[in-house]
């Protein structure tokens, strides 16, 4: 585990813990029907966001897609800005104009997420172009789901990124489903997305996306190679979404049969937060009590964020036309 110091391990754990607790709390509150914005929770997929973002520098930039809370939080976005955005308040990270799928925290390097599949793959590639033109060593990262690899814009972007050796990291979270559609209805049998990337002359690696350290190490290798001028890297992170595609529920509780409870349980066994926590303890880096304290810290950030969000002012109708141009 060459590069992984105890410090890094702690940060990785604290990060997945924070993401998990935030999403779980927001999901619980979502049923109150006060967050009026279609929300794609990222529970179960935290290690991808945490592992990759830990490998980045503060001025590297991150883009995301519809399932974006993890990426926003892992790059440093505040729970307060997220919660207020879900509650549609003026204090939301997008001032209540964007909702769950349109987050931003530019000062932390989280540029934007967007709800249309594939958009930010090209956009991140363009930011990488800007960095290259400026001879900067910054890296642009884009997170997306495996279904986005069915959209043409992904291949146009890879071709271009490889052609110009742009400093962009493509992170695919392969959670096996697109809404309710399994891979088998969308990609040919035997598909290896890494093979596709390599055919575009993009360096590619597949990792266990629930293992914070595996993701972090792969991302570190990727970012080093990118900064060395070797061009784009594609990272496929195998993971699983616990909750329903959009909304806070669980598919099996809602009577949906496109996937089984048994499959979910297998993945819950392989929980990224649990894995990271157990590893910390087994390696003697943190005690159970320490973990409990961190959990309490995070919970308190979330409690305050939600409380503040619920009391925050609504955008005023007279400001409807602000920021169009």
């Amino acid at each position: 585990m060459g590069t992984v110091t105890p410090d890094v391990e702690i940060r990785l754990f604290k990060s997945v813990l924070r993401l998990r607790r935030a999403e779980e709390s927001l999901a619980a509150l979502y049923s109150e029907q006060e967050m009026r914005t279609p929300t794609h929770f990222g529970v179960g997929q935290e290690a991808v966001a945490s592992g990759v973002c830990e490998a980045l520098l503060p001025d590297d930039v991150v883009y995301s897609h519809h399932r974006c809370h993890n990426h926003y939080l892992a790059k440093g976005g505040s729970v307060a800005g997220l919660a207020a955005e879900l509650y549609g308040r003026e204090t939301g990270c997008a001032n209540g104009r964007g909702g769950s799928v349109h987050l931003t925290a530019v000062d932390k390097g989280f540029v934007v997420s967007s709800a249309i599949l594939g958009q930010t793959i090209a956009v991140a590639t363009g930011s990488a172009l800007a960095f290259q033109m400026d001879r900067s060593s910054r890296v642009a990262v884009t997170f997306f789901g495996e279904a986005t690899c069915e959209e043409g814009v992904f291949y146009e972007s890879m071709n271009y990124a490889a052609l110009r050796k742009l400093p962009v990291l493509f992170v695919c979270e392969n959670n096996l489903y697109s809404t309710e559609s399994p891979l088998s209805t969308r990609q040919p049998t035997g598909t290896e997305l890494c093979e596709r990337a390599r055919a575009f002359k993009v360096t590619a690696e597949k990792v266990d996306g629930n293992d914070t350290i595996a993701v972090f190490e792969a991302a570190t290798r990727a970012v080093e190679s990118i900064r060395a001028g070797n061009g784009p890297v594609f990272l496929e992170c195998m993971t699983y979404r616990w909750r329903e595609h959009v909304g806070p529920g669980f598919d099996h509780e809602l009577g949906r049969t496109y996937r089984t409870k048994a499959e979910l349980d297998k993945w819950i066994e392989h929980c990224p937060v649990k894995l990271a926590g157990e590893r910390l303890q087994s390696r003697g880096i943190a005690s159970e009590a320490q973990i409990a304290r961190w959990t309490e810290e995070v919970e308190s950030e979330i409690r305050v964020a939600v409380l503040t969000a619920k009391q925050a002012p609504w955008p005023e109708a007279q400001n409807l036309f602000d920021n169009i141009y």
Partner: protein
């Protein structure tokens, strides 16, 4: 007549058409889910199975081209977009090929009868990229047909008509209409494409409305009747071809026109209808035409802004009164609460 919900009417039209024409198939993201496009493809999936109703990967552009190519070989594909906003990705195939096919090949390559159904979102913070309504763009192009059923009867009838037509046809279905009930013919009867419907006759003002705004206009008309205003309400139904005749004869009768559409004003349907009146019913017009459309900004998410963004029954009613020169009224609170429930 027995009543059906809008989505049931869509479903019935589709199923009846599929029974009669084995060349029809349905594809698009989520069409074969248990939830089948808000219920509208559930029965077709059950009845006709995966050979004729099948899911699509996320590939809007190529899938539209694939439907065109299947249509060129004699199929009648129906492609469904859970949100019409995803269609931007498919505009090249739809506008730059399907719409021009018959004409551009001199009629010698046949037609490509592709039906594109696409759902228009509104409210619940769906935001700027999931709540647009693309009829005016699409209708700009000769070769496409563009229809917006407002009432369940037309949800069924226009589905049937689209699946019978040889021209590529886009059906835009407003999400908020799906749960609304109305009388629907049991028979297999198409609603003629290119014909508007006079929903109610009246003498003082013509309201021309589309899609969900027809529902809002009905409520406005009811309230206005209490104030002694007789509204003639025209449900446009088709944007292309446009039923100039029905619009013009109504305007010639009432001399006053209010137009309400689910999209923006600039180069929108509201402007088209207003222009039509100014060109061809000018001498009958007694007052300025009034256009009612979305506020001229991208759709915001916050509830407090959505309320200001969307025009409502009261917006229409007030415009009608203004066109009659009446500035004061006892207009009740006729707007319904937005009771759409999340997450989607």
């Amino acid at each position: 007549m027995r009543e059906l919900k809008y989505y049931e009417a869509l479903s019935e039209g589709l199923v009846q058409a599929m029974e009669r024409d084995s060349s029809i198939f349905v594809t698009g993201i989520a069409v074969d889910y248990a939830s089948g496009i808000f219920g509208s493809t559930v029965e077709a999936t059950r009845r006709f199975g995966p050979e004729r109703v099948f899911d699509s990967p996320a590939m809007e552009n190529a899938m539209t081209g694939i439907c065109i190519g299947a249509a060129a070989m004699g199929k009648r594909p129906m492609m469904v977009h859970p949100r019409n906003d995803f269609m931007f990705l498919a505009f090249d195939q739809l506008i730059n090929l399907a719409a021009k096919w018959r004409y551009m090949y001199g009629g010698n390559a046949g037609s490509v009868p592709v039906v594109v159904r696409a759902v228009v979102g509104k409210g619940w913070g769906q935001g700027a990229t999931h709540s647009q309504s693309l009829q005016s763009l699409l209708a700009h192009f000769p070769g496409l047909q563009v229809v917006l059923p407002a009432l369940p009867q037309d949800a069924k009838g226009l589905t049937i008509a689209a699946l019978q037509s040889n021209a590529p046809t886009v059906i835009l279905e407003h999400r908020t209409l799906y749960g609304i009930s109305g009388p629907v013919d049991e028979a297999y009867v198409p609603t003629p494409i290119g014909k508007a419907r006079v929903v109610q006759e009246g003498t003082d003002v013509t309201i021309v409305a589309t899609s969900f705004m027809v529902i809002e206009a009905m409520r406005a008309a009811e309230e206005l009747a209490k104030e002694g205003v007789s509204v003639e309400l025209v449900d446009l139904r088709s944007i292309r071809p446009l039923d100039e005749e029905t619009i013009l004869s109504s305007v010639r009768k009432t001399g006053r026109l209010v137009v309400a559409d689910t999209s923006w004003e600039l180069c929108g349907v509201v402007s088209e209808i207003a222009a039509l009146a100014a060109e061809k019913a000018f001498h009958s017009l007694k007052a300025p035409v009034r256009r009612i459309a979305l506020a001229d900004c991208p759709a915001p998410v916050s509830m407090s802004l959505e309320a200001a963004f969307y025009p409502k029954a009261s917006t229409i009613a007030r415009a009608v009164l203004a066109t009659l020169g009446r500035t004061h009224s006892h207009l009740g609170d006729i707007d319904l609460a937005d009771d759409f429930k999340g997450p989607y």
